[in-house]
């Protein structure tokens, strides 16, 4: 069995960034750009006496899904918590720029048959956001990535994959939310302030970070699916993520645009309504919210298998037209 075939069955959660990048595209098509052999590591960490990595903790490259070039950004959580610094951030931005460049080139080369060949960008998040050792450069990288999202919008899909151990938190939580659509696994977590940070700042009474069930009810894939913060929920395997990704790539840019959560006046209004609801409902636990959205016995939802959960769970109804186009 080839390495790629083995990767497909691998847990997405337990795989390395490089394994995810290789496995998410078609067999043998992944070419890493600025890989370890290029030795582009952080210029800031050595001065601080901190360990460096040849890829600065972010794997970037391009592969194929069918005829479509898929530009991959894959963060490695084991290297300084997947934090984004100057080099890693620069690699993210450059990958997005390459994808947008490829879009223009392909459109020019195949004026009538470009539809099925257009590139896409996939970001596998495993990060707590800015690398504090290089704070300004890291913050700037966040802004520049978001800037590229705007340039890519309506041209090529930018898709988030969240199924890693660390999840997608901090500034990168904003970045993830600003992509066109999000594919998550139950083990994936998405949020702004991570559980430990909330506990540290607000105390254990406010949020007990050692309570795993609470953490997953608040930031995990199932909750995000009910809330429509993520668009698709899949099993924890590289294959499951790849299958869902390939399916998404068959959609038109119009339907992909409809999956967004942020980025228009209407969407802002919809989000503000949610804030209003949170104040009115004053929920004590995510389960109160699940109940509000029509789940009669919310307590059983975390226990359900993915198949049963997808059958039974009632999701928040999207207000914006087309906003509920979901798998």
């Amino acid at each position: 069995m080839s390495v790629w075939n083995q990767l497909q069955k691998n847990s997405f959660l337990e795989s390395s960034a490089r394994q995810r990048a290789n496995g998410i595209v078609d067999n043998g098509t992944f070419t890493e750009l600025l890989g370890p052999r290029d030795r582009v590591s952080s210029p800031h960490l050595p001065v601080l006496g901190e360990a460096v990595a040849f890829d600065d903790g972010i794997v970037t490259g391009v592969g194929l899904i069918g005829k479509r070039p898929v530009f991959v950004i894959s963060q490695e959580g084991r290297f300084i918590g997947g934090s984004v610094g100057e080099v890693g951030g620069g690699k993210m931005v450059a990958t997005l720029k390459l994808a947008i460049g490829a879009y223009h080139q392909i459109k020019e080369k195949y004026p009538t048959s470009y539809q099925g060949r257009l590139p896409a960008v996939v970001i596998s998040f495993e990060t707590g956001g800015v690398r504090l050792h290089e704070s300004n450069a890291g913050l700037l990288a966040h802004a520049e990535v978001m800037d590229q999202f705007q340039d890519a919008r309506g041209k090529i899909p930018v898709i988030s994959l969240i199924g890693s151990k660390i999840g997608c938190f901090g500034g990168m939580g904003f970045v993830g939310a600003a992509t066109d659509l999000i594919i998550m696994s139950e083990q994936g977590r998405l949020g702004l302030t991570g559980p430990e940070v909330i506990e540290q700042e607000m105390g254990k009474d406010e949020f007990d970070a050692s309570n795993k069930a609470l953490v997953y009810r608040t930031t995990g894939g199932k909750h995000k699916y009910i809330m429509q913060d993520c668009n698709f929920l899949v099993e924890d395997s590289i294959e499951a993520f790849r299958t869902q990704l390939a399916e998404v790539l068959t959609l038109s840019m119009e339907s992909i645009e409809e999956m967004r959560r942020v980025g228009s006046q209407k969407l802002v209004e919809e989000q503000l309504e949610l804030v209003k609801l949170a104040v009115e409902l004053d929920p004590r636990d995510s389960m109160d919210v699940w109940k509000y959205f029509g789940n009669e016995s919310p307590a059983i939802l975390p226990e359900l298998s993915l198949t049963d959960f997808l059958k039974q769970a009632k999701r928040r109804v999207r207000k914006v037209e087309g906003g509920s186009v979901n798998g």
Partner: protein
């Protein structure tokens, strides 16, 4: 307390040629390391460069690396290691894994 850069060179009799142009293995996690191996004409020698935050363990690094080089009769290869406080046993385990994986892939290619 900048990062330490350690350099070593070893030479064994009748070294076995490394069968890849280059190989990469591992992740610089906490207590872990990554290894970049490249085939290089070094007149049969092995060059190792270690980048590590740990101070004062040069001799231990030398011993661990020498053992691996001798065991596997390595030659004409440059090894670069980015270390993040890995213990000597983790260092030798990762090096063995890297070499074993490289050997496994050769068998597959044949």
């Amino acid at each position: 307390m900048a990062l330490q850069q350690l350099k070593f060179e070893f030479k064994v009799n009748n070294p076995i040629e490394f069968s890849h142009e280059w190989r990469h293995h591992g992740v610089v996690g906490s207590g872990d390391l990554e290894i970049l191996m490249e085939k290089k004409d070094l007149g049969g020698a092995v060059q190792v460069q270690v980048v590590t935050p740990v101070v004062g363990f040069d001799k231990v690094w030398g011993m661990v690396l020498e053992k691996i080089v001798k065991e596997n009769r390595l030659g004409n290869i440059s090894i670069e290691i980015n270390d993040n406080n890995a213990t000597p046993i983790v260092v030798s385990m990762r090096l063995r894994q890297a070499l074993a994986e490289a050997a496994k892939d050769v068998r597959k290619e044949v």
